[in-house]
Amino acid sequence: MAGLAAKFGSGAMTNSVAEIAENDALLVIGSNTTENHPIIGLRMKEAVAKGARLIVADPRRIPLVKFATLWLRQKPGTDAVLLNAIMHVILEEGLEDRDFITRRTEAFEEFEASLAPFTAEFGAEATGVPAEDIRKAARIFGSAVNAGIYYAMGITQHSMGTNNVHAVGNLAMLTGNVGKRAAGVNPLRGQNNVQGACDMGCLPNVYPGYQSVAIPGMQQKFEAAWGGTLSGKPGLPATEMTGAMLAGSLKGMYVFGENPALSDPNTSHSLKAFKNLEFLVVQDIFLTETAELADVVLPGSSFAEKNGTFTSSERRIQRVRQAIASPGEARNDLAIIDQIYRSFAAGSVAEYRLPDAAAVFEEAASLWPEIAGVNYQRLDKDSICWPCPAPDHPGTPFLFKAMFSREGGRALFTAVPQVLSDELPDEQYPFVLTTGRELFHYHTGTMTRRSAGLNAVAPEAFVEINPVDADGLGVHSGESLRVTSRRGMIDLKARVSGIVPPQVVFIPFHYREAAANLLTNDAMDPVCRIMEAKVCAVRIEKNMS
């Protein structure tokens, strides 16, 4: 979440989930919340039931549209222009929060100037949303007392994802909707512990707690804590690892609990990369597509077989507790890592032992002041949202009440230019493909596709296609379509539906036998290195074979 961190000094959800029900206005953009974050979706429905006005901006008619006051159906990849046009109208009609802008932000003048070309009419032209709806959205959002913004991969998984996040942040700042209750800028995290993995330093440029590896003071702090010397050179982000594997500079990988061979955009590329490795270790509970390529597979534990903590999207640290034993010789994941750690340090196989999860957490808490007040005794009574700097601190439902975490304490406005998707439809590939999740499955389906019930209600991959396009191709629901991009080709069943607009198709990415990521683009956002999994150009044909 490089975009938000640059603006505010932190990239997490600014507000807690319970506050959603207190919003007067909500803007949900690039998040199919009821399917991907169902319980957060319930809070949104609750807000609407209490009279809040909901704006949904999404190319697909997602289920939340049913509850919306206003639905903006922007063309895929035009989110930032849409947001800019909304902000242009807010300024035109004097709906901005001058007091907040003066007291709590910087770089407003340049930003204001950058919005000049983004009139409602210009926005309508670029996004396909009627100018009048852009104005309506500006009025709803701009006149609300408490307005919250919610977004997910739908706007971040683009080559211009960072720009989109900047635009979302600008909107909250312009209207004074950040740093207070029941508002804010809220990225909804896809997997259960994305927040925690980031917090714990599983990022190439920062130690636990977002402390930069490139700052010598930080390096010394962690050297003192861990012993030995640490590298001050930022590492490779996951998306650049593929290239390094293919180039041969990256020779050995240890993949823990993930299935990158299937989840990475441009899958055939990443499969080739993994095959090119000299040595691959995979630690998982199933023989995933990635594990099949490994030299060593280590059988780990499911969430029901271990003790620890997860940190949810709202920065809430919560206990995970062991209920059952692992099957066969499968072992506790923390113990596996611990044994390899000590064996590598000693140069020979160290004795197996089960480390105390509470003590590991305590060590992390001693190195990151924002969670210094959190420990297992407290977590056993109740979960805590960080920041929680002291043992008697109650935790923090919303961030930046007094100041932002950037140097100087102010939030930064950022001009966001119009950037086009890396790959636009053309004569050869006339359709826009977007990918995403569906309610009944999760990620690459490693778990959900092994759940009998979930697999029964959602057994196979499909491609959603608008009735107009289906007519043009002479295809009916259930018939097979061949979807081809510059990178690959898959066959799957058509689901004819007005959920997608004409010229746009949607494929969920959970299915290994029709992996959507064989088609998608690995063009990258230049700042935060997220692949453009959301938009690419494809050709669609009726499958004759």
Binding site: N192, Y254, V297, D333, I337, F344, S348, L439, G453, V457
Partner: protein, 348 residues
């Protein structure tokens, strides 16, 4: 604030509080079947009746707002008799099925029959027969056990916003079912199952699993999405047999289909149960001992580090695994291997 007296205890409550809510604040137990603090009051079961001074007849406390100077009695011979009659009526066409019912021991109706000592039935008469199989994979409907409390219909409408179930027919033949009596085809969140006070709605996956004996409950956190719902794992031996969630959790007891019914992957037969090693390039993955596997990992990774430097190695951590595991994993790469080549897969 409103001041009232319940069973000789006085209490102040804000305007809009119901008599039932005020009584609960005083820890006074009034039986209910159709009430749930997370839903709007409904007033259907008439078990929550109380006597209020000045009122000609008992009234349902769940729908009566507290008023200043009210004097309320929650228990009397009359109330007891009326409640007992209500329960007898409910049981008169209820299948006497507790022995083999999945909800036995965890059923409001059964508990009420026990507390009010309803043994024989004065009203025994015709049994309804509403049962027809519902082919959905998650939710078992046993409509003969329905007491028409309306909780399932209301939760689906008020909380889930789906409205997949409604009432059909009236009186004795009344029942709760999806529109046009088709199979359920909804979000399968199971909210309805979680509020049903009887065995009328249950999880298909729960059938035939132990109910109480040997069942262990463990509070934990859902493994699927970033909502971080609090769940309670029901296990028997090394098997997960059910997932539930507490009303007091931040998710208020609500879950989605993945969290509530998607747990069976844990006990799948194709779990990895032994380390595997590819002893030579191009060969097959073969079972190995842990010592051999750890030795292999350490030797090969150390060899790469020696020959090509620490930056020729990288780790991909998991947005699925715990904070502690992720912390130790990155510490291993940074402090022992000596590289910052560490990331996780889902950068969003």
């Amino acid at each position: 604030m409103i001041h009232l007296t319940i069973d000789d205890k006085s209490i102040e409550v804000p305007a809009g509080t119901t008599v039932l809510e005020a009584a609960r604040q005083l820890d006074i137990d009034i039986p209910t079947l159709c009430y749930d603090s997370r839903l709007k009051p409904y007033g259907a079961c008439r078990l929550c009746i109380v006597e209020i001074a000045g009122f000609p007849k008992p009234v349902t406390s769940c729908t009566t707002p507290a008023a200043d100077n009210m004097v309320v009695r929650t228990n009397s011979a009359l109330l007891h008799r009326l409640r007992k009659t209500t329960i007898e009526l409910l049981l008169s066409d209820h299948p006497n099925d507790c022995m083999v019912c999945v909800r036995s021991g965890d059923c409001t109706l059964q508990e009420l029959a026990y507390l009010y000592d309803v043994r024989e039935n004065r009203f025994s008469g015709g049994m309804r027969d509403h049962n027809r199989p519902d082919a959905n994979p998650f939710i078992q409907r046993d409509q003969n056990k329905c007491v028409m409390c309306g909780l399932c219909v209301r939760v689906c409408e008020e909380v889930q916003g789906v409205g997949a179930i409604g009432y059909s027919n009236r009186g004795f033949e009344a029942k709760v079912c999806p529109p046009f009596e088709k199979d359920l085809n909804c979000e399968f969140c199971g909210q309805c199952v979680s509020v049903c006070p009887t065995g009328a709605l249950s999880g298909k996956m729960w059938a035939g699993q132990p109910r109480q004996e040997g069942v262990k409950l463990t509070d934990s956190t859902c493994t699927y999405c970033g909502c971080g719902c609090n769940i309670t794992l029901h296990s028997h031996g090394d098997r997960l047999i059910r997932v539930s969630s507490k009303k007091t959790s931040h998710n208020r007891g609500w879950l989605c289909v993945k969290g509530r019914f998607g747990y069976d992957f844990v006990n799948r037969g194709d779990r990895l149960t032994t380390p595997l090693i590819r002893r030579e390039k191009g060969g097959a993955l073969e079972p190995a001992s842990w010592d051999e596997a750890v030795q292999f990992v350490v030797t090969r990774m150390a060899g790469i580090k020696e020959k090509h430097g620490p930056d020729a190695l990288a780790g991909l951590a998991s947005a699925r695994c715990t904070n502690e595991e992720n912390y130790l994993f990155q510490k291993f790469f940074r402090s022992v291997i000596g590289t910052n080549n560490i990331d996780h897969c889902a950068r969003y």
